[in-house]
Amino acid sequence: MPQLNQIQELVRLDILKIESEFDIVRARQAVRFYAKEMKMGVVDQTRITTAVSELFRNMYQYAGGGEIIIERGDFQARPALVVTCIDHGPGIEDIELAMSDGYTSGSGMGYGLPGAKRLVDDFFIESRVNGGTTIRIVKWA
């Protein structure tokens, strides 16, 4: 499995905004569309679509919305879908805790981050209290 830093250039495919709950569905359908376009297998398409659905919902629920950048990168003729979620919400206080299995918050289900991470090939997260959160995931086709 190639690494993200082996990709020379990221090509921007789309930028979306999450402002309402309808956007969660629309945005994940867009991700599936791009995954299908780069000939990703059906199961992998479902994996990344489900993973981003978790992230988009978090963005909407905890940060009131945010921005999504969908990009494509290639390494030795193998394409990867890179989705970056940026919000300016309250941020995650303890990232390690949020990324551990069995963690729950408010609604009782946590941020679903460990699950989302399992579904993708690479997972990067940056967050500051009251400084927003940025999560980037990579899935190779």
């Binding site: 479902t46 679509t49 919902r57 989302a116």
Partner: protein
């Protein structure tokens, strides 16, 4: 109030059909959160109205089931069982099944079936055993 197609009520979006003593709910659209909640309420109301003993939720068209929808389905099964009706999740796509397992979403005790025929057979057997 401005016309907003996304606001269309559950009854027009997701049909709930009477099928003998059961109800069949065929989810054909990618549900957003509010629709999922309304569907839950609607199904419970229909169970009361029709005295249905079982609800078959057909998700064969759904290509994505995230933890939210998963929890909704699981919640529906629990709520319905409190009303003495059994819920069967029918027609899950293989990719969805694999993803739910990898996501770690546990749905303990929820009945599942490959198709409507097997689901009805399962429910009838269950009801017969109860009597």
């Amino acid at each position: 109030m401005k016309y907003d197609p996304d606001e269309i009520k559950v009854s027009r979006r997701i049909p709930i059909i009477k099928y003998g003593e059961f109800l069949i709910v065929s989810i054909q659209v990618d549900m957003h959160d509010r629709l999922a909640m309304e569907l839950q309420t609607q199904i419970l109301e229909e169970i009361t109205k029709t005295n249905a003993r079982g609800v078959l939720i057909d998700i064969s068209v759904l290509d994505t089931v995230d933890s939210y929808i998963g929890r909704m389905l699981y919640g529906m099964a629990t709520m319905a069982s409190i009303m003495d009706a059994a819920v069967v999740i029918v027609g899950m796509q293989p990719a969805v099944a694999i993803t739910l397992v990898e996501l770690g979403l546990d749905m303990p005790g929820v009945l599942t079936a490959l198709n409507i025929e097997q689901a009805s057979r399962m429910l009838r057997k269950k009801m017969k055993n109860k009597k």
